[in-house]
């Protein structure tokens, strides 16, 4: 039986802060995520290289060097604990033996750091969603589904604390919606295909994690909303469209929590503040310190209600000071120190509001992450339990919120933004409330070569 979220997790906006939440999660090493302290979450990747049987020993050595380097620096800087994310490369999921080997290297590095420095650590294992390697994607069976589950299961048995994924159900349709800035198509991809797939996927992942003493942590709309953000940053699509997509992706990500995920949600899930507002679970976020991986207009505000603070990813390359992952580790620790110092001084809300104020008026994508906006929209989203209607409602509420903010001069806008918001408003209004009726309507514009309806329970 799936959980239902019928009200938001906070009664008071001042309680909606970074570092703590109503439902914290305790790791195997005793880190309490969401228990008062913001922890750094470090992620890293290989430099440009092939992955195969011949190169794996080199890849293993690189990962060994990375984990040794980042945890040494974390100990030197007295980090209260470190969450490591092992976000696999596609080869590591396609060939689980590679992914399992690297996960073990990281677990071993964590054990050594505990023995050597007394450093608390935890690991989030994030296999790739390779189901889209089949075109059209095969979502519920087949080689890619099996290898992904094999990797999850063995990593959990070996000691991983958390499971995450950037799942891709519906992405094959959503990509077209983004480049066309077609909100109807995006709502279909997220609210019908995405939500249906999340129900199927996360039921399996929660069962697998429960059976192996591991936490199902959460998903990310990376392939959806972050792609929109990157396209907007390049000037390819309107920023208001990306902002609306960000919130429209919330109901899809919420499905993981309905199925039993407990957080911390995935770092690149910028929909995290909404998840925290609704579920009371801890969230991971990334912002300015993830600039080595991608740029964004939300560098500070992303930290406003974060429980772990991430760098997204960084290649093992040498910078002037040190290897890049070590540099990222240091940056994250200093960010977290400042936030935690403000908490100790009783200035947590003030610091949160500075993080918010410094970004929220400068870009519509930042504006929709304001805690007050998050709480206002979340309070409406919990009034319906239908994922499709929730998705439609999320888009509708965000358009209204942005129109009001632009008219009132609360956020910078492009002269074309209002035209796009009105275009979206009309398109959303034309969507029927019955998902089956909507699917029937959409059939004429859907590229049926791109997806298999039965893989989404349609």
């Amino acid at each position: 039986m799936a959980k239902q979220f019928t009200k938001v997790a906070y009664a008071n906006l001042d309680d909606f802060v970074y570092g703590s939440c109503p439902n914290p999660v305790t790791t195997k090493s005793g880190m309490v995520i969401g228990g008062g302290v913001v922890y750094p979450e470090i992620n890293f990747t290989l430099p440009g290289m092939d992955i195969n049987d011949v190169t794996m020993p080199k890849a293993a050595t690189i990962y060994s060097n990375i984990i040794e380097g980042v945890l040494k620096r974390a100990a030197e800087l007295y980090a209260p604990g470190v969450l490591i994310e092992f976000e696999t490369l596609p080869d590591f999921t396609e060939h689980p033996k590679y992914g399992i080997e690297v996960n073990r290297i990281l677990l071993n590095g964590m054990k050594e750091a505990s023995e050597k420095y007394g450093l608390k650590t935890a690991i989030r294992t994030t296999p790739n969603d390779l189901r889209e390697f089949s075109r059209p994607p095969i979502m519920r069976s087949g080689k890619y589904w099996e290898t992904m589950l094999e990797l999850y299961e063995q990593c959990a048995k070996d000691g991983s604390d958390f499971f995450s994924i950037e799942s891709t159900g519906g992405k094959e349709i959503h990509d077209s919606a983004l480049v066309k800035a077609d909100i109807r198509l995006a709502i279909f991809a997220l609210g019908v295909l995405g939500c249906n797939d999340m129900e199927f996927l996360w039921k399996h992942l929660v069962d697998l994690s429960n059976a192996n003493s591991c936490f199902a942590a959460g998903d990310s709309a990376c392939g959806f909303a972050n792609t929109a953000m990157v396209l907007a940053e390049k000037g390819f699509i309107p920023h208001v469209f990306a902002a609306v997509i960000r919130v429209t992706a919330v109901p899809r990500a919420l499905v993981a929590f309905e199925q039993g995920a407990v957080g911390p949600s995935k770092d690149c899930a910028y929909e995290g503040p909404y998840l925290k507002a609704i579920t009371g679970s801890p969230i991971s976020m990334e912002g300015k310190t993830a600039a080595g991986a991608h740029l964004s207009p939300i560098g500070n505000i992303a930290a406003a209600v974060a429980d772990t603070w991430s760098n997204e990813s960084i290649q093992q390359v040498k910078l002037l000071s040190e290897m890049a992952p070590v540099v990222a580790m240091e940056q994250l620790i200093y960010d977290c120190r400042l936030m935690n110092a403000a908490t100790l001084n009783g200035q947590q809300v003030m610091f949160r509001d500075l993080l918010v104020q410094s970004d929220s008026a400068l870009d519509v994508q930042a504006y929709v992450l304001r805690p007050d906006v998050v709480m206002r929209i979340s309070s409406e989203l919990v009034k319906t339990q239908d994922n499709f209607l929730r998705t439609k409602l999320a888009a509708q509420l965000t358009v209204a919120e942005l129109k009001k903010a632009i008219i009132e001069g609360k956020v910078k806008s492009d002269k074309r933004d209002m035209k796009w918001l009105e275009k979206m408003e009309k398109a959303i209004e034309s969507i029927p409330d019955d998902p089956n009726e909507f699917y029937y309507e959409m059939k004429s514009v859907l590229d049926m070569d791109k997806f298999i309806p039965s893989e989404y329970g349609l």
């Binding site: 290289m49 490369l89 390697f133 480049v179 066309k180 390819f236 309107p238 290649q315």
Partner: protein
């Protein structure tokens, strides 16, 4: 009476409903179909491209313009024999082996087609041998490859090596792109050009085709 300028403006406006009657009117008036393509439809897209590059148009608007141009082309193409349809050149495009990221690649396909190139889109996760076979089959002027991952970017190099082994490397120019790819990487793996977005990739191809025409003229 419709003019070629009206057609260009219609393409710029992305006016799908209006383009058919305008193009049909020009055909009925006896305007050379090639002129309608070059001085009306493609001329419209030639206005769109700089507006996109300067940030005055978004991709969805460019796509509407491209769709409008294609709608007009549907009326004109049957009036021209295949060999007479103007093409700036032929390009094969694909995302390399092991990589599924294709938004950037799809944008490039759209931009290239709308600028008058003949594009063969090989899709995603394209094996080295498939690129090579496509070069042999389609005899393109340019091969474009993209990769978004640090691991799959190495497949660009292996694809170029495959083209060398199969003896077709010298028949084409190679352009590459994608988040981890740089000009330095392009130089290292022996690509002929690098671009960091779709619109500059079109300009790169224009320069390559222009250089090719110049050298052909010199050797003639």
């Amino acid at each position: 009476m419709a003019t070629l300028n009206d057609v260009s403006q219609c393409v710029l406006d992305g006016d799908l409903d209006g383009i058919k009657s305008l193009v049909q009117s020009l055909i009925d008036d006896g305007t050379d179909p090639i002129v309608i393509i070059n001085d009306g439809l493609i001329a419209g897209m030639n206005i769109v491209a700089p507006l996109f590059k300067s940030g005055e148009m978004f991709v969805p608007e460019v796509m509407e313009s491209a769709d409008t141009m294609n709608e007009g082309m549907k009326l004109v193409k049957p009036l021209i024999t295949d060999g007479d349809i103007p093409s700036k050149g032929k390009i094969i495009i694909g995302t390399v082996n092991g990589d599924l990221h294709d938004i950037g690649k799809n944008l490039l396909v759209m931009m290239m087609e709308s600028r008058g190139y003949t594009v063969i889109d090989l899709g995603v996760d394209v094996k080295e041998e498939a690129f090579s076979a496509a070069v042999k089959e389609h005899k393109p002027n340019i091969v474009g490859m993209s990769s978004l991952l640090t691991t799959t970017m190495m497949k660009i190099e292996s694809t170029i090596k495959q083209l060398v082994v199969d003896g077709v490397r010298d028949q084409v120019k190679i352009i590459i792109g994608g988040a981890p790819v740089t000009q330095e990487f392009a130089d290292d793996v022996g690509a002929d050009g690098y671009s960091d977005d779709a619109s500059t990739a079109v300009e790169l191809c224009d320069r390559m085709m222009s250089d090719q025409s110049s050298s052909e003229a010199l050797s003639a």
